[in-house]
Symmetry: C2
């Protein structure tokens, strides 16, 4: 049970976290800061936050739990800004989608508060973002990755584990490096592909006619093509080394299938699709 | 109202068509043929078909409606085989995902029955295939493309239109050429990308760890990676000219984004994602 959550970023993820903690009776009061006034007003109207703060340090002061839920690139500045205001018993977490860059920033800026910082990454999303989409069940049955450093205090790691478990998340632990390699593969590359695909489509003269007959396959495949530009710019730049490696794996396979089609190599095409089918079906069964 | 549906291929699409027609009271009796005995037995147990036929011509004889719902490459042979057995008042439709090759086969094999053939393509799919997944509501609110030729009898086109409209489909008309160009863009390329992506992923040593943290974005993006190998081999080969063109559009955009990332060109990355986001959001609003 926490007496005060300082919420920095009152969007879909931050808002859902606050709602879920409140619903569980795990927090008495939420002080929220967001870059835009409209978001904070809406968050307050919705009961996501109890008090509007004028800057990030104001949300941190007096809090025993802080969640930083803003785009990846902004987290670095935020850590620098709030460091002097973190109470000695306050658990600080971010929810950024890349972790090595945040680990570096934390080391650079948090000083003796570094041991209280437990980076987290909840694997939860929705077609639409924003606090209006916030839901207390967003994290239920979803993976949640913690990437503590070697000097993170074990007691704080355990508190973080308990909070997310309480919200229904399945908690994994990884190093920041392992995390970024894994997410380049299963999240960042799919987003990059979806954006490239959609741009390739809409630049064609007949794209309206094409889109008029698109069906459920297109709908699901392209869902992530509707993701937020600044969030994903930050992720691509922060994790570009791993992302480049994943693009190479993908392009090699794309070239292989193209080659099979050019040569009407029916057996190799079937083999390739079969491998994909088996892997996808195994994955979905394990969910 | 039809007296007998001859169903060639009793899978997800064919089975759903038969169930929907029966539920609407539009067909008195369904005679079905499928390549495997187990499928036909299950289809009969489920009430999808009333009579098991030993070959395609047996399903066609005496029918006033025939639906060919088998993989694209097999449709050509099927048309040749059934042509002599089609009654003069029988409406014949296929549900293949490519249309130019089927138009060619129909011209070559159907003779004076060509005017009764109305190629159709229902844009409906499911995570899993097979007659066990058949549902009478599969076509409801889904696009359905008819690609009649210049010599198709208008009365038969109108009958086809009425049948699919009755099942809840939104009927479009296109030429086979327009159809194949559109579906290369909004369906065939996404499938090819999904297969390539999944192969690129599972060939990596750490793919189990990667997959263990995959979330809802991965789930939706990769759904079509679980599609049927033979169905998609046939589609890729039948529509390879259009598909190659779409691959080129996609690769150009992929290269552009890679270039922006290499150069840390933040503004161009945002612009590219923004274009994708706007297009995807416009599309989903129109659904």
């Amino acid at each position: 049970m926490f007496k005060q959550l300082g919420l920095i970023g009152c969007g879909l993820i931050g808002g859902s976290f606050a709602l879920a903690l409140k619903q569980a009776g795990w927090v008495a009061r939420v002080c929220g800061y967001s870059a835009t006034k409209a978001t904070m007003n809406l968050a307050k109207e919705m009961g996501v936050i109890d008090e509007i703060c004028l800057d990030a340090p104001s949300a941190v002061r007096g809090s025993d739990l802080v969640l930083i839920a803003i785009p990846v690139q902004a987290i670095e500045d935020c850590l620098r800004e709030i460091a002097p205001h973190i109470d000695t018993d306050c658990l600080v977490m971010d929810v950024g989608s890349t972790k090595a860059n945040i680990a570096d920033a934390a080391k650079a800026f948090l000083g003796d508060k570094l041991s209280q910082f437990v980076p987290a990454h909840p694997i939860a999303g929705k077609e639409l973002a924003g606090v209006s989409e916030a839901s207390p069940t967003l994290f239920k049955d979803r993976p949640l990755i913690l990437t503590p450093s070697e000097i993170t205090n074990l007691d704080f790691i355990e508190r973080a584990n308990k909070v997310w478990t309480q919200l229904g998340s399945k908690v994994h632990k990884m190093s920041p490096t392992e995390h970024d390699a894994a997410f380049a593969a299963v999240s960042h590359l799919p987003h990059l592909i979806a954006f490239a695909y959609m741009n390739g489509l809409i630049k064609q003269r007949d794209h309206d006619q094409f889109l008029s007959v698109a069906g459920p396959g297109f709908r699901d495949f392209s869902r992530i093509a509707g993701s937020d530009p600044k969030v994903w710019r930050d992720i691509f730049l922060a994790n570009r080394k791993n992302l480049k490696e994943q693009i190479t794996h993908f392009k090699n396979e794309l070239q292989a299938i193209e080659h099979f089609i050019d040569n009407e190599d029916s057996a190799s095409i079937v083999e390739c699709i079969k491998a994909s089918q088996v892997a996808r079906n195994e994955w979905i069964i394990n969910q």
